[in-house]
Subunit: 118 residues, 2 copies
Amino acid sequence: MSLPHPTADQISLPIVLAVLGDPTRLAIVRYLASKEGVPMNCSKFLDLASKTNLSYHLAKLREAGVTRSEAVGTSRLITLRRDDLDKRFPGLLDSVIAAAEGDKDLPAVGTAEVEVSA
Amino acid sequence: MSLPHPTADQISLPIVLAVLGDPTRLAIVRYLASKEGVPMNCSKFLDLASKTNLSYHLAKLREAGVTRSEAVGTSRLITLRRDDLDKRFPGLLDSVIAAAEGDKDLPAVGTAEVEVSA
DNA sequence: CCAATTGTTCAATAACTTTTGAACTAAGGA
DNA sequence: TCCTTAGTTCAAAAGTTATTGAACAATTGG
C-alpha cells in the first residue's frame, strides 16, 4: 500500500454516501463488487471517464475509504474495502449495490463499445 | 399534497445517496425515522440550520423522493417516504440509519441548547 | 539507454451546492 | 382587520466538486 487511506474507524458515513452518490464512482464500485477479490487496474474503467478524471474519482473513493489502491509497478491495483465497510456500516454496501443493479439508467463498466482485437 | 414529488419509480439511487450525504439532511432523515409515522413540521429542525437553509434542504429531500411534504395551513407536514424507499431500494434506508446511529460526530435534532421557557 | 505504458499532478475553468438576508405569501388568531 | 406564525422565493456570495489538457514521474520491455 502506498497511497493514503483512512483507517476503518475513520470512514465517515456522509462522505461515503456522497462519494457513492456520483454515477461514475457508483459504476466503479459496482464493478469492483462484481469481481470481488480480483484487484483491478484503472484501465478497466476507461470507458467511464477520461484517464485524468478517473484518477480524480479513484482518489475520492480511496480517500473516503471505499477502495484500497496499491501501487504495483506502474499500475494501481484497486480493491473494494468490503470488510471495513461491512464492519463499519453493516448492510450498506450490499443494499447500495443491489439497488444499483435494478437501475438501467446507471452507467456501468463494459457497457461502451468493445474493440475487437485484430 | 401540494408540492412536487417524484413518483416511487422516479426515485434515483445516486440522487438519494447524494442527498443523504449531507449531514444536515441525514440528521433530518434520522429524526423522521425515529418518529416514524408522526408528521413533523419544519420548526422541529431549526436547531440544525436557519429557516431559509432548512427550506432548501427540505426541498432537496422532497425532490429526491426521500420525504413527503404536505401543506396544512401555514405548516408543512413532513414524513419519510419509507414505503417507497424500501420498495425501491430494499434495506438501504435501514442500513443508513443504523450506520448513522453509531456516528457520534453527526449532527442530530435535539442536540443543541434547549431554551427553558419562563 | 530509449520508448512505451500507466497513472499522477497541476492549474484553469465550468458547473454545481450551500448559505445568507431581505422580501414575500398564506393562514390563523385577537 | 391587523398581527403573528410558518415557511417560501429570490438574488447574491461563498464554497465545493467535476472536468479538461498539458506536463510530469516511475516502471518495464526492447
